[in-house]
């Protein structure tokens, strides 16, 4: 398992490196080049030159990349045009809020989707299975933000059961009950799309495993059907799901950003959108990098989990996270 994890870690580092190159290249491809992206518009020509030298933008491209990386590694994400604030000060407080939302949605998805999918795999084409396929068609076709708006209209505006938006009621920061009330709608919205796909995945994965020879062996041993499903089949069916969990992280991050904008959730996604409208490029770059690091770490975690669930990984037979 050690060798496998080392290989995956190296792959993760390579991917991370490529992401930084990619982001860096994007600034240089922008019309007007990095100066336009990194220096506030409207400064005097003298100030422009000074800033350009400070940022090292007069150096050759590869030196610029190294300097930029050097600053990143020291935790320096740059400053904003407006008020010259350090990007980190704006960014870091939002990260936790986003994580709260994402983890809640993720847990809700798994808690509902896995048992549902497993159940459907034992009752193929039953009522529950057909209902799940309706949910998945809707989940794939409905714009999540629209679903959010509709929920707001029904549960916040008409019924007044739930708070319309934000993370806390003013003055109630830290009250877990208040947080939960604020989480209900965003989590529902964020979960729906994932719910749709994970019910499908877990059902398909279970069906494939239930068709395997070793399941027949288990039955031939006299193992009870419930134990066949939950012990013999489930462990195997979880293996591809773990991989998909890792691969779906970027989609979760994107979905969270959209949900945050609908519900005014003070997270990274909402910050990203508002900074994009204000053209604060340094914040945008920082967020893209931070989320990529997060996604890559998440994938690495999925790989480790994969190695835990599947003993065959020790031989490195199943190396790829991708099919």
């Amino acid at each position: 398992m050690g060798e496998y994890l080392i290989r995956r870690t190296i792959q993760a580092i390579v991917t991370l490196f490529l992401v930084t190159v990619f982001t860096f290249a994007l600034i240089h491809l922008a019309p007007g080049g990095p100066t336009q992206v990194m220096i506030a518009p409207g400064v005097s020509p003298e100030a422009f030159e000074v800033q350009k030298r400070n940022l090292g933008l007069d150096q050759p491209v590869h030196i610029q990349y190294l300097q930029w990386m050097g600053r990143l590694l020291q935790g320096d994400l740059g400053t904003t045009f407006k008020n010259n604030l350090p990007v980190g000060d704006i960014l870091w407080p939002t990260v936790g809020n986003t994580l709260v939302l994402m983890i809640a949605a993720w847990l809700v998805t798994l808690i509902i989707a896995l048992p549902w999918g497993i159940y459907n795999s034992t009752k193929v084409y039953g009522i529950s299975d057909q209902f799940a396929s309706i949910v998945s068609y809707l989940g794939f076709a409905m714009p999540t933000f629209w679903f959010g708006i509709i929920l707001q209209q029904i549960f916040a505006m008409n019924l007044k059961w739930l708070p319309l938006s934000d993370m806390w009621t003013y003055g109630k920061q830290g009250d877990i009950g208040d947080l939960v009330m604020h989480l209900i709608m965003p989590v529902t919205v964020l979960s729906l799309g994932f719910l749709a796909s994970y019910v499908k995945y877990s059902r398909a994965s279970m069906l494939e495993v239930l068709d395997q020879d070793y399941i027949r062996t288990a039955r031939a041993k006299g193992v009870k059907e419930s134990r066949v499903v939950f012990r013999h089949a489930l462990r195997n069916a979880l293996i591809p799901i773990v991989t998909i969990l890792g691969l779906d992280l970027p989609i979760l991050v994107s979905g969270a950003a959209l949900t945050e904008s609908v519900f005014n959730w003070p997270g990274m996604g909402r910050l990203f959108v508002s900074m994009a409208n204000a053209r604060e490029y340094s914040v945008l770059m920082a967020i893209v990098l931070v989320t990529s690091v997060f996604v890559i770490l998440g994938n690495l975690l999925a790989d480790i989990l994969y190695a835990v669930v599947d003993p065959r990984v020790q031989l490195g037979r199943k190396g790829g996270g991708s099919k």
Binding site: R216, K221, R235, R312
Partner: protein
């Protein structure tokens, strides 16, 4: 006379498709005595695997069903039992081993866990006892260093080793009947012989009966006491190993024997093959199911299905060629 362990009477089993019922096994009757080895021989598609799955009542899970007949195991009819009741018999009184040992073991559990599970279910052992017993069993089926192997996963073992593990699982509760469905087909030739020897010696030790399913007459000749030859869902000939090999009566059996390389032929002569292929279910020919491939087919064969004819106390066949000769009416 020896005790009948298993008696199958008029078993009809198969699958439902949108074309109707496909009878993979059609009116099969067989019996197995205590301590005896019965080989069911036939090409793929002859219905031998369906028959074995029907006995285990695993056919239900493979999308098939038993339509008619009785399967009497020590006098009890298995066809009317619930799956729960069958759970107490499977792995305990009747055990089964399968064709591909590599895929027959669950990849995420250790070998020891998989053996111990049977013992824990049927013998009420706790985990520790069961693991100790598993080590003994592994040694018994000829696996060296069983205390190390018991903690390993199936992918760490060779195909032959895996089949030994599968046998250990099957024998854990000392069953009365072992059903082996092509147990050596997926293995190398040298390993095949080892596994067959192992089965024979374990049979003598435990005194169990074996129902061995194979397409290979060679395998049957090595282990069988009696042989039943299946073709397109029916048993065309049944007899002791001497009946079948010394006096093969059904043209299909004769064909099977002649197509064994080196069987009563001189070196250098062309290898015999039975022309044509086994018919698909749902497209069975009229009359005798073998007539389109039979060198002796007559109009009668094309029109009517032959009944079973007793050639001797131990030998019966289903072929019109012997009808008059034996003077026995269709049963």
């Amino acid at each position: 006379m020896a005790e009948k362990v298993l008696e199958i009477r008029g078993l009809t089993a198969g699958f439902i498709s949108d074309k109707g019922l496909l009878k993979a096994a059609d009116n099969i009757s067989l019996e197995i005595m205590r301590g005896e080895t019965l080989c069911v021989v036939g090409e793929s598609g002859s219905g031998k695997s369906v028959t074995s799955l029907a006995i285990m009542r695993l056919l239900d899970y493979a999308g098939g069903l038993i339509v008619d007949g009785e399967i009497l195991f020590k006098g009890e009819d298995l066809t009317t039992k619930s799956q729960e009741e069958m759970g107490k018999i499977r792995g305990n009184k009747i055990a089964m081993i399968f064709q591909d040992p590599m895929s027959a073991l669950n990849p995420v559990f250790t070998v020891g866990d998989q053996i111990a599970e049977t013992l824990m279910i049927h013998q009420g052992m706790d985990r520790k006892q069961a693991m100790e017993e598993a080590i003994k069993l592994l040694g018994h089926v000829g696996i060296p260093a069983p205390e190390i192997r018991v903690k390993q996963y199936p992918h760490e073992l060779s195909g032959g080793m895996c089949q030994r593990v599968v046998i250990a699982i099957a024998l854990a509760c000392k069953p009365d009947l072992l059903i082996a469905d092509e147990p050596t087909t997926a293995l190398d030739v040298t390993v095949q012989a080892q596994i067959l020897d192992l089965l024979k010696s374990l049979q003598q030790e435990f005194g169990m009966s074996i129902l061995l399913i194979t397409h290979d007459m060679g395998v049957a000749s090595e282990v069988a006491d009696r042989i039943a030859v299946m073709y397109a869902g029916t048993i065309v000939e049944e007899g002791t190993v001497f009946d079948i090999f010394d006096h093969p009566s059904h043209p299909y059996t004769q064909g099977l024997l002649e197509s064994i390389p080196g069987y009563e032929t001189t070196r250098g002569s062309e290898l015999y093959t039975i022309k044509g292929t086994i018919p698909r279910l749902g497209e069975l020919p009229s009359g005798c199911r073998f007539h389109p491939r039979c060198p002796h087919a007559t109009d009668k064969c094309r029109a009517m299905e032959p009944g079973s004819i007793q050639l001797s106390d131990t030998h019966r066949t289903a072929c019109w060629l012997y009808q008059e000769e034996a003077g026995v009416k269709k049963s």
